[in-house]
């Protein structure tokens, strides 16, 4: 162990004691110092070891370029696991590392205590490494292009898994079991561990009026034409998506929490005058309100700060257990904060970006709307045997926002690649119901007229 590592170990121990003394409760953390390439690789993949795909290479290129051009800097990366792993950028100053270590402990406290993380596997580092290994094996066995094509397709819908599948269904949907073929039920057994019991039932239950929330899960269970190895890839991507989702839905609250605590911790530990200045500079850089866009660190930090004033420090620990971004913003972003932070709504008007509202409730509601379902449109499977010819019908639960049509068509073709038979998608465009049909990779659009709409 070199001198810097020894020194940092000592500091980490000291900061851990301070953090524990203040009430933070975290898993053990293993810190690793890495060079920029490595840290930015982890940043692009989200994990030290993950399967190979060009989209990660693209993300890596972008991150690395921003670093090379001095536009942005990732100081640390922390992995939600037990023990947790945190990666520190080689070349961080000592005081920067002190701040980062405090920040990391608060993140790990959040991972350990926030309810939304309670179902994420704590050994995901190893699981993802195993996925990578398995997918590499499929590449040698079935060819890189075929694997890539499958990954392209499933990654395009990776957000459409049911993140709340563990929440119990209403009782009236239980007990309805359709006849399933032998192969299918053995298949379901194979993947049963992926699905909580009621979820499995729902996926099987085609004729039910209920719509399946979990598009990827539905394809794993019921896509008629894909190979077992493709299903396996789908289920791996699904598992990884489920693992990452809590991080997506707690970005503001978690970054705010970590920033709130690193500031508190730094006030507790001994800093030289020079270090205090460096700390102040870095702290304000992290929390700097970006021009026009919203800095989640800053927004989260300000909400936590105002909550501390209002309720006292002890009450915050309870909130960090039960809230996610959506509830956090909806419940605690108030008039004072919206005005203090100069928040506003804007949209494109002609070729310009124009401020539309500054009214605090409208601003809050727009923000909340953007957080629903992780900011992704909600797509549900409404029929697995549409028009009796084995077609898949997906319904976009339109909530006031139209979809991007170019993206819709391309993504639909990906879904159709996995389903193999025709795929339909129902949505609303400019107030009119529209159905897109995709067959053999070709997308056509049907306006649903009077006669096309069936009354139920």
């Amino acid at each position: 162990m070199d001198e810097e590592s020894r020194e940092l170990s000592r500091i980490a121990r000291e900061i851990a004691d301070v953090a524990k003394g203040m009430g933070l409760d975290f898993y053990p953390v293993h810190f690793e110092i890495c060079p920029p390439e490595t840290l930015y690789t982890f940043g692009a993949y989200g994990m030290p070891v993950r399967f190979t795909h060009w989209s990660f290479g693209k993300a890596f290129y972008r991150l690395k370029m921003q670093y090379d051009l001095n536009l942005s800097r990732i100081y640390e990366l922390v992995i939600n696991s037990d023990p947790a792993y945190a990666f520190l950028l080689e070349g961080n100053k000592l005081v920067q590392n002190k701040l980062v270590i405090g920040h990391v402990y608060a993140h790990v406290d959040f991972f350990k205590n926030n309810h939304y993380f309670s179902r994420t596997p704590k050994d995901m580092v190893e699981r993802m490494a195993a996925h990578a290994e398995q997918i590499r094996e499929y590449e040698t066995r079935y060819g890189r292009d075929k694997v890539e094509q499958t990954l392209d397709a499933v990654l395009s819908i990776q957000e459409h898994v049911d993140f709340r599948s563990h929440i119990a269904r209403r009782p009236e949907n239980k007990g309805k079991r359709p006849k399933t073929s032998r192969t299918r039920s053995s298949f379901i057994e194979k993947y049963a561990d992926l699905f909580p019991e009621d979820q499995t039932e729902e996926a099987k239950d085609t004729k039910s009026r209920r719509e399946a929330e979990d598009l990827v899960g539905y394809l794993i269970m019921r896509a008629p034409g894909i190979e077992p190895w493709q299903r396996d890839i789908l289920s791996m991507v699904r598992a990884e998506s489920l693992y990452f989702y809590p991080q997506i839905e707690t970005k503001i609250i978690n970054e705010g929490w970590a920033s709130f605590w690193h500031a508190k911790i730094m006030r507790e530990i001994q800093l030289s005058a020079g270090e205090s200045l460096d700390f102040a500079v870095m702290h304000s850089q992290v929390l700097q309100p970006a021009r026009f866009s919203l800095n989640p660190y800053y927004l989260g930090y300000k909400i936590w700060e105002s909550l501390e004033k209002e309720m006292g420090l002890d009450a915050l620990f309870e909130l960090r257990e039960v809230e996610n971004d959506l509830s956090f913003v909806r419940n605690y972003l108030d008039r004072e904060l919206v005005e203090e932070l100069n928040l506003f709504n804007f949209r494109k008007v002609g070729a310009h970006w124009q401020v539309t509202d500054t009214d605090w409730e409208k601003v809050r509601d727009t923000l909340v709307q953007g957080l629903v379902h992780g900011g992704h449109p909600r797509m549900v499977v409404s029929d697995g045997d549409y028009e009796g010819r084995g077609a898949l019908k997906i319904r976009h639960c339109h909530e006031g926002l139209d979809l991007d049509l170019v993206y819709l068509e391309k993504t639909l073709a990906h879904v159709q690649f996995l389903w193999q038979k025709p795929v339909y998608l129902e949505t609303v465009l400019d107030g009119k119901k529209v159905v897109f049909e995709c067959d053999n990779g070709l997308v056509t659009r049907h306006q649903v007229g009077e006669e096309g709409e069936k009354k139920t």
């Binding site: 890495c34 060009w54 819908i157 932070l341 391309k410």
Partner: protein
Amino acid sequence: MSDEIIVNREDWSLQRKGYLDQSRHKEKVQEAVKQQLGDLIVDESIILSDGKKAIKIPMRSLEEFRFRYDYNKKKNTGQSTEKVSPGDILGREATKGKGNGNESGAGEEPGIDIYEAEITYDDLAEILFEELRLPNLDDKKRPKISHDRPEFNDVRKTGLMANVDKKRTLLESIKRQARESHGLGSGRGSEGDDPRESGSSLQGLGAEPRGAGSNSQESGSSLQELGGEPRGSASNLQGSESDPAVVPVEPKRNLRITPEDLRFKTWETRPNFETNAVILAMMDTSGSMGQFEKYISRTFFFWMVRFLRTKYKNVEMRFLAHHTEAKEVSEEEFFTRGESGGTRCSSVYKLALDLIEADYPPAHYNIYPVHFTDGDNIGSDNARALSLMQQLVDASRIVGYGEILRTHYSSTLMATLKRITDPKLRLVTIRDRNEVYTALKTVFS
């Protein structure tokens, strides 16, 4: 669980994954370039600049498609360092990348990642020619007689005096003299640091010129024969290497060529098959052929010539313009002139056949007649055009017939020519710029 806190530093230098996937992404961007080939090969900057310039095309990185909201219709939340009020303009569209509020994973917006892919003419040609093929290459007509053709591809120390490689000989002479003079001064300088190595090489060199002395008369004469040129260049060289520490050559000493310096070009004989090709470029220059039509045909011929040059030693091109009558014109005229009047395609087919008969015996030439027209042929001429075309097809490797049309009809001439079933006749219709690519692929497939 141990509470031991560990800070570690490992050797991450083998971590190349990011770079590997990055290069895969790049590869896919290149594939996307390939898919744009149809647009790229008709680019004016290539066709009109004779293909010498590199062109740059902005290429977006590959998009990761998913279901997402229409960015143009979406409301966003932003933050400002100062008060704003409804109606304030934040920016124009160009800055939209920045305008994206944090919408939790809404992801990057179009227009952020642009790869500037530089495509050179050679890159483009390589990608394009990969797709093209010369059929009928093992045609019976391929000449069996070959005559040996010398190919100078080696340099040796012996050979015919007529084949002296002047440049290399002079270089050898200069090198030798530099070594000799260095040898004189070997007692001093840094070379002495490693006496064994430099010493032995110096001795070896020393032996050479001395042994060569006996032939000096002859080599001297050849030097004179080479005339003033080498002397002039020798003095130049001395001038440029006048730094005494480097080349301590005696100041007035002339450059001398010894037999050791002589280098001769040598050749190998290779069987040479007749690999000449001729393109008979035929174009309708009647009133109905406008700028667009000319540009299309020009683009087509541009790539055709370059493609055939990769296959044949010599590619000749003859330009035949026609309306109701045909005549041979210059290249410039071919692409610029326009005449009024009707169209009689048989006239140009007849002219082509005459040319073949006079200058290009099919037994020795690979003949590629290509005709561009808008197909607006005088109806009564079709029968004659058909029979002449049949003769052209018989004499040629491939015959291209291209109709450049902006309507959806095809002409009666096209319908007539379809009666020729010989696969050597390639019929194409071009309605749009980027169909040149398809046309090339149809003709050369």
